[in-house]
Each structure stands twice: as structure tokens, then as C-alpha cells.
Symmetry: C2
DNA sequence: GCTGCCGTTTGACCCAGATCAAAACAGCGG
DNA sequence: CCGCTGTTTTGATCTGGGTCAAACGGCAGC
């Protein structure tokens, strides 16, 4: 076997759903081998995005949904007066762009917080294929539903939790998502700035910083710049929900 | 024609998608006459719910999605410690229960704020039928997407708006939704209590009351108990976004 | 290694909206 | 018509987290 041929082969393997290590986490979860092949045919474009690049911008037309293969991104919704609110942080296996199906236009910006790779999934193709593969159809519905469920959680957080609780929820959520992807649940890098965390949690960056320092003083976490280690995960869990509510 | 027969006929007409006055607003929007017939076959159960009745409770298994035919309801997500956060107010034509598709269990309570009528739409049937009718499939996706989009708006509101802005956004949203349903955009009844408004907006009931009184003093609205009249809709619109942000 | 730029931390002070309290009011059953 | 209950309004006071300000630290470019 000639070397050039092998390279091409490996390259192709790397970018197919059927061999992607995320396929149990991502859209094709639960599909059979032959159904995965159909997925492979549907997803023909992969994009590499560099830190700071936009995957899509608010106001632009929906071209496709994007499955995150590697990297880390945020989506933020903008108010006409310039205020921006981080609506979510996304990591590998997550599907983004679903906010745009309703109107055909994206409502938020999505941008990479580190060099990333995404798979473009044209909505039309996805809808076509899910008419043929019931389990894909149902799984897509589950993914959209989980986004709604996540949003409800954020509403609860923003509407009725105090600062410490918000931050604890945030850290526990990151921890759990990293764990689900095979990474450490207690030690990770915060890819976003304090300001972005604050925006997501409805707090100012100073409050995020202060609360993080307070957690550190209490021995709950060890923070050094963007590196975070959770020391007492149970105490963090207890912290959520036991304090008197703010609203 | 005998009277009893006529009654049955009218009754049947009243409960079919094909003759429902909401069908351009609801799930079957854009379907052909024959496709509407298929919808009729799918939706075989209509439920009447009285003020205070639950349509579903958090933690219970997903049986069906519910399209609201008449009435007004709220959904609220609960925190284990008893805190509750209103996640949305729903009126005729709205589809609720989509939060449960992901896990198979409802994450929020849905309860009627006035006597209402809902159509039960079994998820399995809906998925089956949308495999046959592409426009139904796409419209269902659009509805789920619009729920995500709405949630992003609520996040922006809860995360970065001051009390007056939140209330103005709330009133403008109600106004616009009533208008879309053929009712007055400037005069309507608030079906929910001040406390429920507050919960939805992340404010306490006293703040809602005070802010409403303030709007009244400024001549923006006329409130009398639960009856509300918008006097200066443009001023309300201007109010949103011009103040310095809280977060 | 030095310099400049961000992002972060920490302190001091302030204010929007929460909390507490009480009165006014609507709606309802008897 | 009355009394009861739950909702709403309004006032007085308090406080969590916002705002302003300054110092610190890590890292990229030179």
C-alpha cells in the first residue's frame, strides 16, 4: 500500500460520523452502521474556526446547524443598544444554530473561544434524512428539547438564585459536561473570561471574581487564573438551594 | 334536520384541526386540506382543564404535547427547595410540553390560569405524521426553535435588564401576542397575579406593582386591577434599551 | 529581558430592588 | 349585606451586588 493512499484514507476516516469518537454524544447517537453511512453522506463540510472567529452572526440567514467536533464556543444574544448576553457555552458534541430554524435567521452570534472544528449539517438534509430514519428524527427532537430544558434551568438561575448559587451551578454544570466527555470532572480550564461568565450568569465580572475568591477561601475550589480545581464538590452542591432566595 | 344530529355535528366540527380557527397559528399551519384530515385523525383527545388544574406536572412521564385551543396557562420550573420560577405564559395556539422530549419526563408544571381547552398530541403520532408530511415536520421544528428563541429573549431580559425594562418588554410581548390572535393589542386582562408576573420577570411582586403604578403615573398605561390598557405603546418601546444596563 | 495590554483581583461606596409591615381592596360564600 | 380570604398597593428600611477606582499579574511582541 502506497503512502499517499493511506494518508487520504486516514483523513477520510477522521472526518466521518461513522468513525467519529463523538458519535454517541452527537446527533447520530444510537444509529446503526448503515444509518451512520447516510449521515456521512449528509455532512460534507467541516469547518475549522480559529479562536475569535464567528461560526455565525445574529441576523444572518440560517445555512446549516453546526455540530462541534473539537473546541469551545459561546453564543451571545445582542440587544440593539449594544448590551450582550452570553446565552450559552458549547463544547464538543453540542449542536448549535437551532435558534434560527423558526425565523430562518440567527438570533445570536456564535464564536469560538479556542481553535475549534465544526461539522456543517444542512437543515434540509437533516430533515430529509430524519424522515427516513425515525431514530435520527427522534434524537434530533431530543436535542432541541434538551436545549429548551437547559434554557429553563438558566431562567431559574437568573430569575431566582443568588450570586454564589449561580456560580456553583455554573461550575457543577461544566464539571458534569466535562465528565460526560471523558475529561476530569474536578480539574479543568475555564476557556472564557470572568466577564463572559458574568454575562452568562447575570453578574458583573467583579462579582464573579469575588465569589470565586470566596469559594477559594472556603476551600471549595482552587483557582489559579483560568485553571480551576474543584476540591469539595459536595459542598458546592449543598450550597445550591440552601440559602434564602433572592427573588 | 333533527336538532340532536345538528348538535353532534357542530360539536365534531368544533374539535377538528381542519375546522379549528387556530389552524394557521397552531401546529398544522400551512398544511393542505388532505393533510389537515390526517392531523384530525392524530388528535383524538381534547381535554378541558379548569382554572387551577394541572395539564402536566414536573417529574411525570411525557404522554403527549398539548396545543392550547382556548384559555391561558403558565408553566413553572421548580427548585428542590420549593422556589418556583414561572418559565412562560401560554395562550391559544401555543404548543407546550416540548421540554420533556429530551428526558421523557416533564421538567415543569403546566397549569391553567383560567378554564381552558387543550388538544393532546401524542409525540409518537406527531413524529410518524411528520415523516410523511415534510411541511408538518418543518413547522414542528420551527415551533421548537421559536421556543428556544423565546428563551434566549428571556435570558437577555433576566440577565441584563432593569425592572422597568423587564415589565415593558413583558407588556409589549403580551400586546403583540394578543394582536396576533385577533384581540386588542392595547387593552387586555392580565390573567396572572403580580406575583406570577414577578416570578417570570425575576422581580418581587411589590416591584411589579410599584413599576406598574409608575407607568400609570407617567401616563404610559392605565391599570385597574387585572385590566390593563396601553396608552403610549411607543413610549413603552423607547423605554426598553435606553437606560443604562444593570449588569 | 522589557514594555504594554488585557484580564483579574481587591477595596470603598452606592443604589435598585428586596424585605418587612400595614392598609386598602376585590371577590366570594353564606 | 357581611365577613373572610387572598391580592394589590404603598411606605419605610435594608442589603446584595453594582459601580468606580486602583493595583496587580500573565503573556505577546519587540
Amino acid at each position: 500500500m502506497a503512502t499517499p493512499l493511506r494518508i487520504v484514507e486516514v483523513d477520510k476516516l477522521k472526518t466521518a460520523c461513522s468513525t467519529c469518537s463523538l458519535h454517541e454524544l452527537c446527533l447520530p447517537a444510537g444509529l446503526s452502521a448503515s444509518e451512520l453511512k447516510s449521515m456521512d453522506r449528509m455532512i460534507d463540510i467541516r469547518r475549522t474556526v480559529k479562536r475569535g472567529d464567528y461560526i455565525f452572526r445574529a441576523g444572518t440567514a440560517l445555512h446549516a446547524l453546526y455540530a462541534i467536533r473539537t473546541g469551545f464556543m459561546k453564543s451571545c444574544v445582542l440587544h440593539e443598544d449594544g448590551r450582550e448576553q452570553v446565552a450559552g457555552f458549547h463544547m464538543m458534541g453540542d449542536l448549535i444554530g437551532m435558534d434560527a430554524i423558526g425565523s430562518g435567521q440567527h438570533l445570536c452570534d456564535a464564536l469560538a473561544l479556542e481553535d475549534s472544528e465544526v461539522c456543517e449539517i444542512p437543515l434540509k438534509s437533516l430533515e430529509l434524512l430524519s424522515r427516513e430514519i425515525p431514530s435520527l428524527q427522534h434524537h434530533f427532537h431530543r436535542i432541541m428539547s434538551r436545549e429548551i430544558a437547559r434554557d429553563y434551568g438558566v431562567m431559574l438561575l437568573l430569575g431566582s438564585m443568588r450570586a454564589e448559587e449561580r456560580l456553583a451551578v455554573f461550575l457543577l454544570n461544566l464539571s458534569q459536561r466535562f465528565a460526560a466527555r471523558g475529561y476530569s470532572s474536578t480539574e479543568f480550564h475555564l476557556r472564557m473570561t470572568r466577564e463572559e461568565i458574568g454575562s452568562y450568569l447575570g453578574l458583573k465580572l467583579e462579582t464573579v471574581s469575588r465569589t470565586l475568591s470566596q469559594f477559594q477561601a472556603q476551600g471549595l475550589v482552587a483557582v489559579q487564573n483560568k485553571h480551576l480545581r474543584i476540591l469539595k464538590i459536595d459542598s458546592l452542591r449543598e450550597l445550591v438551594g440552601q440559602h434564602g432566595c433572592r427573588v
